[in-house]
């Protein structure tokens, strides 16, 4: 019997996927984890019926945290790290389509699940989070257990649990409670089963026959609800959204629009906006960012922690609170600071609370003429895309094109000689502009560097940590360049030149769609044109772009390849 066969048998026995995991627990630890990890892989493979359009996405670590907070409250603390996520085509959301769960990854999920379940059922939380009191605290109570597990399971699985699923969970809960003489231990065990289930850790796109178009398929309501909540709230569907899925209204244009409008007008939209921009700008990479403290002592742990948050606050303020033009994100003088960031940037920030503890976020506006403006002048960009000890206009230019313009620059050819660029002590080439100019004399390198370097050099006034400078090795820094025929000097002028470039708005639309769907939009369909038109007509209001995508059939379309495969089966 293969591992996969074992998993399938478990599925048959219990009717739900996660019990393959629970039964596997009786095996040795190593074999258990192997079975479990394989079951995730099997499930992912099972649902990804088309190589180019897979239909399951592993939820991100931020979605996991957000979902737990939404269901159980923010006092449930998750302190562990999750398995790494994969970035593809510039987005983690696209990589999520191909994410499975490794043996180590499952172990982490299992530990996190145990920790969450222990907190939910502890004396501090149980009275609030478990909606009933057992007849006896020292024995199983099927009625109370069913009430909690059915309610919670529906929110975690993004759909109502089937009867046999509930029955199995209740049985496990009762069995454990009676053995341990603790009702809450039983609840905890079943909650762990829910939390390590693929039905929670993966979002699936399930299809069903489309009654309006005989012979065609559509996504089922729960899949649509899961897409919406993940996209707009970075979380699982709430009760109202699940009800809209249950009563079928989500399959109507009116019902869909009603839910989308409700979600966009909710404060929770901030979570979705944050999640998208964090992904688009690669802010997760701050986790592994380091700077040489000897050269950049102002890049403190506080500054590093606050840098991505500054950008997200700037974005939320601009696109959610002010409902501003997306393009102005790159020129806005409004931002937010902590004292640590202000010291990094060399600007004054008056914090009047006693001892300024903890550091507060304060609104800050750069004065007219200041060399900093817009999110690309922030450490979240200029420090993130630099080395530990020196800047890299090439990396900045590459990520500028990838993140902001959706332009992919090919990787460097093998055996490139970087010695000239890396030799910062060469008296002949005192600035990085000099070194890159010399490097571009190699025709093999010149093609790509011509794309990346001019834009990256515009940011050279910002050192590797995000601090401001005007010289390199005692030589004045030249930040001039040209964008679409417009000459600029420095990042502020570059971003002004960038303002009306249609590639900027076209790119963000494509990225938002990919964030929601897991794949870049293909072709230039009428539906896609309609989304872009709506975005432009709203004066590039970002929330209106989210709305246009969320109500578009394009987001919920079922690939023909998948339909034909299904019919073939």
């Amino acid at each position: 019997m293969t591992i996969f066969e074992k998993v399938e048998i478990d599925k048959t026995m219990n009717g739900i996927r996660h019990f393959s995991v629970r039964h596997a627990k009786s095996l040795s630890v190593g074999a258990c984890l192997l079975v479990i990890a394989a079951s995730f892989g099997a499930r992912a493979a099972e649902t990804n019926v088309s190589a180019d359009k897979p239909t399951s996405m592993r939820i991100s670590s931020s979605q996991y945290r957000r979902t737990i907070a939404d269901i159980f409250g923010s006092s449930i603390v998750i302190t562990a790290r999750f398995e790494a996520e994969t970035r593809e085509n510039g987005l983690l959301a696209i990589g999520a389509l191909n994410n499975s769960v490794s043996e180590d990854g499952f172990e982490r999920y299992y530990e996190i699940a145990k920790d969450v379940a222990a907190q939910v059922t502890d004396k501090r939380h149980r009275a609030v989070l478990i909606p009933c009191k057992p007849k006896s605290a020292t024995a199983g109570d099927e009625v109370c257990a069913r009430k909690f597990l059915a309610t919670t399971g529906r929110l975690l699985f993004r759909r109502p649990l089937k009867n046999d699923e509930i029955q199995a969970l209740v049985a496990v809960s009762k069995d454990t409670a009676n053995k341990k003489k603790d009702f809450y231990a039983g609840i905890s065990t079943s909650l762990i089963d829910l939390l390590i289930s693929p039905d929670f850790l993966f979002r699936y796109r399930n299809i069903e026959p489309d009654p309006a178009r005989p012979g065609h398929f559509r996504l089922d309501s729960y899949s649509k609800a899961a897409i919406l909540s993940s996209f707009l709230w970075n979380s699982n569907p709430d009760d109202l959204l699940l009800k809209a899925a249950e009563n079928g209204s989500l399959q109507t244009d009116k019902g869909l629009a009603m839910q989308v409008d409700r979600m966009i007008s909710s404060p929770e939209i901030e979570s979705g906006v944050r999640a998208f921009f964090s992904d688009m700008l690669g802010l997760d990479q701050f986790d592994v960012l380091s700077k040489d403290a000897k050269f950049f002592p102002r890049f403190t742990p506080d500054a590093k922690r606050d840098a991505p948050e500054q950008t997200l606050r700037t974005i939320v303020d601009h696109v959610v609170d002010r409902q501003g033009d997306y393009r102005d994100l790159f020129t806005t003088r409004h931002t937010f600071m902590t004292r640590a960031l202000a010291a990094l940037y060399g600007v004054p920030l008056v914090e009047t609370t006693d001892n300024a503890r903890p550091m507060r976020w304060l609104a800050y506006t750069y004065p007219e003429g200041d060399p900093r403006a817009g999110i690309l002048s922030q450490a979240s960009f200029v420090a993130l895309y630099s080395g530990a000890g020196r800047t890299s206009p090439t990396i900045r230019g590459k990520n500028f094109r990838l993140n902001i313009l959706c332009q992919v620059v090919p990787p460097p050819p093998p055996n490139v000689d970087f010695s000239l660029i890396q030799d910062i002590t060469n008296p002949k080439f005192k600035t990085v502009r000099d070194r890159l100019t010399a490097h571009r004399s190699n025709p093999t390198c010149a093609g790509c560097h011509r794309l990346m370097d001019p834009v990256g050099l515009a940011f050279e006034n910002f050192d590797s940590s995000g601090g401001f400078r005007t010289t390199e090795n005692g030589v004045p820094i030249d930040t001039s360049g040209e964008w679409n025929g417009v000459k600029f000097s420095g990042p502020v002028e570059l971003t002004k030149a960038l303002h009306d470039d249609p590639a900027v708005t076209a790119c963000v639309a494509r990225k938002v769609f990919a964030f929601a769907s897991g794949a870049m939009p293909s072709g230039n369909s009428a539906q896609w044109k309609e989304i872009q038109t709506k975005f432009a007509d709203s004066h590039f209001n970002f929330l209106q772009l989210m709305r246009a995508i969320a109500v578009s059939d394009l987001l919920y379309s079922v690939p023909e390849t998948r339909v034909s495969l299904l019919e073939h089966k």
């Binding site: 700077k291 403290a293 000897k294 950049f296 002592p297 102002r298 890049f299 403190t300 742990p301 506080d302 600071m337 004292r339 640590a340 202000a342 010291a343 060399g346 600007v347 004054p348 920030l349 008056v350 914090e351 009047t352 006693d354 001892n355 300024a356 304060l362 609104a363 800050y364 506006t365 750069y366 004065p367 200041d370 060399p371 401001f468 400078r469 005007t470």
Partner: protein, 382 residues
């Protein structure tokens, strides 16, 4: 190391200021700093015999053993007590009881920290070297004068004479004397910072200046190397007792002040406060914008000694220092006993550039190590 330090001082130049200024010099400038390093000004070259030819003090173990012998312990017993304590990080009760209670009040044991005058003078070797940092506080010549290693002036610093042969004080920057080092680490994260504001018409040139030493409402922030973070913003506490407005002058690149009373209120275990009569100050700006200063005057020697005696377990050489300070105190005799109550002393401090603001959000002073320091806080209206 000492040579390196002296070289650093010798090249410290206010003359470098023009390099860091905006092209258009302001008519009136105001620069801000926070003190990120402060300690008793030690002068030590690394030569263990320097200024202490007898070399008889030894370490704390030897000093305490001698004191125990002086009150009747056998030599072996005294050394064994020391050994027991030295070999553990925990407090050995037997040691604590005997060593801490080596004061004798009418024949009864008492705490040396509560009754320092009821211990016999351990008579530690006093510093007899040529050099010490300081200032001429009396204007008169005398055998007790040292030569300042920077200015080569004849200076008063009896504090250094008392402590200069006690091991824990024989340090050179960036290391501070042991107790002060420990205390400073606590201070950085918990106590309000001391601020320094320098105002003048053109600080790149010689001329009159005003130096204001105050206290912030916030503690110091550390940078990624655990030193003091540069260019952070501090609010000057309007209610602080620390507010010294000092008349000063920059001459040949060195800032000095007109003698004045100086008071710094602290909240840290070692420096509860620093009060100087006839306070002097000499400030050098380093090429990187940092200030290194010496600040001297007459201070209450008992208050200085209390900073050590108030920390029993880290007693170190508290009682030895107490008696030495008492012996060489050189100012303000008690009208009844004749015992001098104040001692000439010098402290060294370093300050890094910072923004200083008032509690209403107005920027009072800007750092001078930035390419484009700002004059207005743009979050003031928030």
């Amino acid at each position: 190391m000492p040579n390196k330090f002296h070289n650093l001082l010798s090249v410290s130049i206010w003359m470098a200021l023009p390099l860091c200024l905006n092209p258009i010099a302001a008519q009136a400038e105001s620069r801000g700093y926070v003190i990120g390093w402060l300690a008793t000004a030690s002068y030590y070259t690394g030569d263990v015999k320097m200024g202490c030819p007898d070399g008889r003090n030894g370490g704390v173990v030897e000093m305490h053993a001698r004191e125990l012998e002086a009150i009747g312990f056998g030599k072996k017993e005294a050394v064994e007590l020391q050994r027991k304590q030295r070999d553990t990080d925990a407090i050995v009760p037997e040691y604590r009881d005997k060593v801490y209670n080596r004061a004798r009040i009418n024949g009864k044991e008492g705490s040396v920290f509560t009754y320092p005058d009821f211990t016999s003078d351990p008579n530690v070797e006093l510093y007899s070297g040529k050099y010490a940092y300081g200032f001429d506080l009396t204007g008169t010549a005398g055998p007790s004068k040292f030569e300042d290693p920077e200015t080569h002036a004849r200076v008063d610093n009896q504090l250094w004479r008392a402590l200069g042969c006690i091991n824990q004080y024989r340090t050179f920057p960036p290391q501070k004397p042991m107790l002060e080092d420990t205390s400073w680490d606590v201070f950085v994260d918990n106590a309000p910072a001391w601020t320094v504001q320098i105002n003048g018409d053109d600080l790149s040139k010689d001329g009159k200046v005003t130096v204001t030493i105050g206290r912030a409402t916030q503690h110091l922030l550390r940078d990624a190397t655990s030193s003091t973070l540069r260019d952070a913003t501090y609010i000057v506490d309007p209610a602080s007792k620390t507010r010294n407005v000092l008349e000063g002058e920059i001459k040949d690149g060195v800032l000095t002040i007109k003698p004045a009373h100086i008071y710094l209120e602290g909240e840290l275990p070692f420096y509860m406060d620093i009060e100087l009569d006839n306070g002097h100050m000499r400030v050098n700006r380093q090429p990187d914008g940092k200030l290194i200063a010496y600040m001297g005057g007459f201070t209450d020697w008992k208050r200085y000694a209390y900073m050590s005696t108030a920390r029993p377990f880290q007693d170190a050489a508290a009682i030895e220092g107490y008696h030495a300070l008492k012996k060489v105190a050189d100012s303000d005799p008690d009208p009844v006993t004749g015992q001098n109550r104040k001692i000439s002393a010098t402290f060294r401090w370093e300050a890094v550039p910072a923004y200083l603001a008032d509690s209403k959000g107005n920027i009072l002073a800007s750092p001078d190590d930035l390419v484009q320091p700002q004059k207005v806080a743009n979050n003031a209206a928030q």
